[in-house]
Symmetry: C2
Subunit: 513 residues, 2 copies
Amino acid sequence: MNGADALIETLVANEVTACFANPGTSEMQFVSALDRQLAMRPVLCLFEGVATGAADGYGRMAGKPACTLLHLGPGYGNGLANLHNARRAFTPIVNVIGDHATYHRQYDAPLNSDIPTIVGPNSLWVRSADSPETVAAITAEAITASYGPPGGPVSLILPADAAWLEADSEPVKAPVPVRHAPSGETVEAMAKALRAAAKPVLLLGSQATNAAALVQASRLAAAGYRVLTDTFIARQPRGAGVFRPGAMPYFAEAALADLAGVDLMIYVGTVVPVAFFAYPDRPSVLAPEGCETLTLCTRQEDSVAALTALGDALGAPATGPVQPLTIAEASPTGPLTPQSAGISIARHLLEGAVICDDSVTSGGGVAAACATARPHDVLALTGGAIGVGMPLAIGAGVAAPASKIVSLNGDGAAMYTVQSLWTMARENLDVTVVVFANHSYRILNIEMGRTGAGNPGPSASKLLDLGDPRIDWVSLAKSLGVPAVRCATAEEFDAAFARAMNESGPKFIEAAI
Amino acid sequence: MNGADALIETLVANEVTACFANPGTSEMQFVSALDRQLAMRPVLCLFEGVATGAADGYGRMAGKPACTLLHLGPGYGNGLANLHNARRAFTPIVNVIGDHATYHRQYDAPLNSDIPTIVGPNSLWVRSADSPETVAAITAEAITASYGPPGGPVSLILPADAAWLEADSEPVKAPVPVRHAPSGETVEAMAKALRAAAKPVLLLGSQATNAAALVQASRLAAAGYRVLTDTFIARQPRGAGVFRPGAMPYFAEAALADLAGVDLMIYVGTVVPVAFFAYPDRPSVLAPEGCETLTLCTRQEDSVAALTALGDALGAPATGPVQPLTIAEASPTGPLTPQSAGISIARHLLEGAVICDDSVTSGGGVAAACATARPHDVLALTGGAIGVGMPLAIGAGVAAPASKIVSLNGDGAAMYTVQSLWTMARENLDVTVVVFANHSYRILNIEMGRTGAGNPGPSASKLLDLGDPRIDWVSLAKSLGVPAVRCATAEEFDAAFARAMNESGPKFIEAAI
């Protein structure tokens, strides 16, 4: 057993059994060791941003980390943006970053880089396993650290010699940290404040949007309290039979209007809401001025227990409101729009489906229609770094092979990690990819006016428009092995999406909006 | 004039006139300001790794920086790998990284990140322009810093409010630092050591591989001294009429065999050669044991002046050997191989062409054949982070519009930044892209054995093989707007490459080897 074996054996012993990888020479021992431990599933990604986004999707669905295998500092760099998103989703991920042999680092070979510094800002924990005997223990430490709470990516650096040298060791078990419930006094204080407030709001984030938490939150709604969630959630059940809290609007002015008059905000697994960006003459903080703000439980604590205790303290009903099943009977007709696409998606979405949402300006229509669709899960873009929609779907597909995965993408976002399509085909994942092709960074056309920068002229337009040349999405998807179709009308899209739901394996739909 | 105007005006005043960009909301003021200063050419890239690699290619050809425009930490992260390569090429680049408004950072909005830390390892200089009045002066500082010597990427962080607030300022001139020649004593000492050595070698790197330096280096060859270059060079003229030094072999054992018996190595704009990776039981340092090592000039110094002075001190002839023009008269025939492709490329390569080389295991055949082709320039993969071949070509095409650009890529490497093809089409760049499609990470199959990891089994093969599904490169290139053809025989490739040289605009050739 060498250091690479010790690493993989410890990962597998702790149920880390999926590896999203793009290896290089320094990772060859890890790659070779995979042949000796078949419980670890290797998934090749043709770009590291695909691998890290896939690990995010996997972790959100599986509730346990996947590992990535990345090639030194540049390989990690390629995956950095989706690890930023994973950090904001609090997703446990064990990044394994190969490095030069310990004695080789000093010579600053071309691929040498300052890995600990590069990984720091998006890692809960960083450590280099510099000797083979320590690899197993350090790997267990990494796994535990990735769980947080509230969880996130960790970075285990594996020098080539620590991987190839003999490591006489057993796999080490990694304890999973437990979340603690808030104290009874905290819960009582919240109940008292809620009863006293004229217009209170509870704001849910991170763990507080999961299925068990929503059941408890629905009791608070039944007791008359308004419940909202963060704008972008890591994972949330939606649709028929599920409680539907409101969501903080994306644009600050809409959020402020929505919260006008609110005199108490209670945070449940989240913190004070802030604007996604600053704009001239608009506030950063979205809690109304003078509004009291309290925390029922932090992201580190047990949101489910906290909400249960609060419902009990308030004498809330045992159950609360849930969404009905209401889907359009007939296909929408006419030109394809995000709204008509949303109606079709809601019509045909399978129970237990997982929507991976990176659809930017096209997403609102889908979310509205799917609020009463068959029950499903939604994974959102938590960190604002576009290019996560298809990678998330890969990870969700590996973690939940019995579920239909639906990946919704803006065309600008989809181009970021377009290599994802190849991995979907290679692994025959049951993913339906929708790209909303409006041939522009539409959100930036909107934001340009909002930031006071005025209307785009010829030079500015060159940086916002994607229409010259027009990307032939169908050919692109097919070239990477995914069957594809283009839909220009609502009827075409409805039929194509229905077909995709009824067939297995990767499908691609260009929604020409 | 706002802060964004101050930035662009200062860039343009210092001849920084190309901007490779993928902006977001925090960069809208910069984008808008482009409409007010048309001397800055905006080039949209659909992924930041394309933008940074393009800036590298531009800087290598233009001898001055381009700027990039990147969206906070994740946007920079996406460009990190090619900035690692640019750092190893010593290419001046001014990265402009948009950030949240200064007062908004404290709220840790979703896209907030620790930008100074993330950019640090690949930046010669980092500074945030936090107030609009300082933007012009800080921009000038950035430009100067990017020149080094020996030059490299710098990171100018531009908060949104510093961009949108009024900045009553004039553009600031940025002095370009001068390189100093080594002292006369140093030159004399080198001459003396060379005369005394039994088997000396001069090793050239960075600036010492440019056209003027090679002319001087050829004099040393004429005087009987062996001259080599680093394995991977930022830019080097090659072909007929140009002095051809040897190159350090990639694999350590080949390098050590080549240098056996060498008793003196003199470094010219470079440092001690080391193995690209460490391997069990092989040395890291490639200078033979016991060999004396001296430095004629560092990367910071003036290599051309140093070589000139050394030639004079040795009484070397005024001119040295140059390559003949020797190209095959007839097309190669039979199955397409990297070697036959190399013969065809050499046959048809236009004078003044620029080869951007990310061809990994397929590159050797091309380099050998092109050694006596029409004079051209070669830009190599300096930092080992694959995915630079097409981005470099974009930058070279923008910097040298009169030159034919040839981008050579392994298929694994090309997939990293495949979005490049769209920008080539959009800008109608005169680039011929060749992808050598062997449907595997061939280098890793070789390296796996060399690292002692053995032969790949079923799991390992899943991470090395690209053949399932086979990428349809022709459809992929066409889908992004670039005319494409697949060549499976030497004759087909010869004809296709000849056509590409005779027509203008982007072309794509899949070399099915």
